[in-house]
Point group: C2
Chain length 426, copies 2
């Protein structure tokens, strides 16, 4: 038996805007940041639980204060009680009526709950001596559905339907675990495509991506149509016809504008257009999907959560679903979203990059492969090659694939020295 | 010329849970609260700008910290520059890329922007010597559309269409102002219907509401079907057949459950069912609307904002649109929503109650009557009779109508003594 004794939060900011890494049509100068939380217990096993919300600079202090508001819920609690029934733990946090008022289920308060939920999963996985993806993949279908809150989802996915999906994937779990450990999970890279890079840098990074074994890259678009046409031309020439090129507008357009703009980029055979408009606009995405077919639409990194994803799937408003490790309320909600996507037969290609998102979200895709859909077909995890050195178990991406992590935990633990060095002091 | 010298924030909490005022199916014990902001300048006119976010207890500190994060944007700025172009001021705040990441346009950060925007409007109205509704109603159609951000809205409402709506309402503005000052704006009362009240208290308050001149009351439902049937029977018997009875489920149900539950309450002729399910579920509301027709659906107090309202209107997922004074990014966004509703011909019946929401939102409805739709038909503003004594210009509701406020400002200024007495200290 152990008790949670402290919830330590840190405002961490990396000065990435100096080099225009991460620049896109809507975010010209992000300072990649994290509202970080470490959950500490009095157990003498040396384990603590780590989680964070990825932010891009100003406002990280607000996100930290939201995580701190959950301290009263955690400190003094029996850790086993929380960890043994993570479904109940999630519901207690998300359905706290007073905190819920601040969303509901969206924005700063919801992401704060996500950081805490993820940190508890980190602790649980470390105590089990397993990487998170493996811990989840070895749970029974019944245990997995118990993690999910089906309220508001039942018109699209019931508990029984979710159980059927999970039960159908039980055969072959062992083989798929072994396959992951041997070959990893397909990745694509966004490293070449930031808007702030010169044409020369773009071309060089495109060639390097292909040489590194990636079969897909992604370019930021939406700033200027002339620039986009020129940059897409450079990229397509550099990678050749066999490599997929995703495009990402980062919410830049209105509905008609998106359809018009993409008509000019169609010639470069884009693998998808990501975030063409407001991330909350289900009906707008559905209209764009019709207007630009057969170019697929990808979205999700800014989605409010499971109720929004449900609608995007119901309305056929996305063709590629992009979960994010820290935008929703943690592992439990991402499992709900994976199950929704499986029900609708839509591939999940997670958003990553930022600070530690690659380290975190790979666990969800690997769990999906082993225990939910049983396939990686049409599925890739985003990869951006920066800031990995700050993590205790950094991603290992080789030959265009995420190597399956074997270290216990959820991948979100940052080196104490990095946390100290980049702590932001007003 | 004046400069903003300070942004004073206060965490204010009223212990309303002691008396079960405000109790409903999802919020059993709210402590009505406010994350309050006062914007102070060096002008010697004695005016400061007041705004707040309504909250219900825990987490008010998080909301306060989000407002504080905007201090850097405001302090030291020229007040006239901000107030003279409130459209640009709104866009600068909402489109700050780093803060936007924390929403976007929803949750704690977006509401914080709303508090600041509303406080600036309070200052602007006080300087003009006019109540907010009158200040807005006297602006030209061109000035009004300049306040609105049409990004993401153009597939449903363009700037030109909004101009047409506003220009059509220019004739008769003066007469409608006079009419408002004489007769007020129709109100309905939720005072009788909280879930925590006894049957005797419910019945007594229903009779009092009719005696007070209200033609509509509202009951909270969704806790227990048997209780709802009994309470609706008591209320209908108490008020008679001529009085409208709204019902409010506060997000309690899934789609099928809402349809089933309302089939049992249909016999009492409900004026509408409010928030039957998740406030983000456009498609779910559309399905419920079909399933329970002709009972109207009302929703909006928890809506993420203009992009969500756009979709609710496009999908015919609501029949009564309920704006809230502090859920979205202030006056500007509520004007966008009023214009959307006008375009789609849907009546706006604001959410109120809480702390100061009645004082604030009446200005939007009165502006709508004078300068947007020109009618109060099918329109009522919610009224809950508590906590008004804490406001400098409390609502004046008589004979079932909100009397038009004549004091300069937006109505959100709370007495300094109240702010001091109910300030929450950890």
């Amino acid at each position: 038996m152990s008790t949670i004794t402290a919830v330590a939060t840190t405002d961490i900011r990396f000065p990435t805007s100096e080099h225009l890494d991460g620049s896109d049509a809507m975010n010209p100068d992000p300072d990649y940041s994290a509202a970080y939380v470490e959950i500490i217990t009095d157990a003498d096993d040396g384990h603590s639980g780590h989680g964070f919300v990825f932010t891009i600079g100003r406002g990280t202090d607000v996100q930290v204060s939201a995580i701190r508001a959950l301290e009263a819920y955690l400190v003094g609690r029996n850790a086993e009680e929380l960890l043994d029934d993570m479904g109940a733990t999630w519901r207690d946090l998300v359905w706290d009526s007073q905190l819920r008022w601040l969303g509901p289920e969206k924005g700063v308060m919801h992401m704060a709950i996500g950081a805490v939920v993820n940190a508890l999963w980190d602790l649980k996985a470390k105590r089990a001596g397993l990487p998170l993806w493996q811990l989840l993949s070895r749970m029974s279908p019944e245990e997995i559905v118990d993690l999910v809150d089906f309220r508001y989802l039942t018109d699209a996915l019931t508990r029984d339907e979710a159980l059927d999906i999970l039960r159908a994937a039980v055969p072959g779990r062992t083989e798929r675990e072994a396959e992951l450990l041997e070959r990893g999970y397909p990745a694509y890279t966004t490293t070449p495509g930031w808007l702030g890079y010169s044409d020369e840098k773009l071309e060089r990074l495109c060639r390097e991506a292909v040489a590194d074994g990636f079969s897909m890259i992604k370019l930021k678009v939406g700033g200027s149509l002339d620039d986009d046409i020129r940059r897409m031309g450079i990229a397509r020439a550099a990678v050749g016809p066999g490599i997929r090129i995703g495009t990402d507008a980062n919410q830049r357009w209105d509905v008609d504008e998106a359809i018009e703009w993409m008509s000019h980029l169609k010639q470069f055979d884009p693998a998808w257009i990501e975030e063409p408009t407001s991330p909350d606009d289900v009906l707008g995405h559905a209209a764009i999907a019709k207007g630009i077919a057969p170019i697929p639409i990808a979205t999700g990194e800014h989605s409010g959560g499971r109720v929004m994803f449900k609608q995007f799937l119901q309305a056929e408003a996305l063709n590629v679903l992009q979960i994010d490790a820290t935008r929703v309320a943690g592992v439990n909600e991402n499992i709900a979203i994976l199950l929704l996507a499986a029900k609708f037969g839509v591939p999940v290609c997670p958003h990553a990059g930022g600070v530690g998102l690659c380290e975190a979200v790979q666990h969800m895709s690997m769990f999906d492969f082993v225990a939910v859909t049983g396939t990686t077909e049409g599925r890739v995890i985003e990869f951006v090659d920066h800031l990995h050195e700050h993590f205790v178990t950094p991603t290992d991406v080789r030959g265009g694939a995420y190597r399956a992590p074997t270290a216990p935990g959820n991948g979100m633990e940052m080196h104490a020295a990095s946390r100290e060095e980049y702590e932001f002091h007003g």
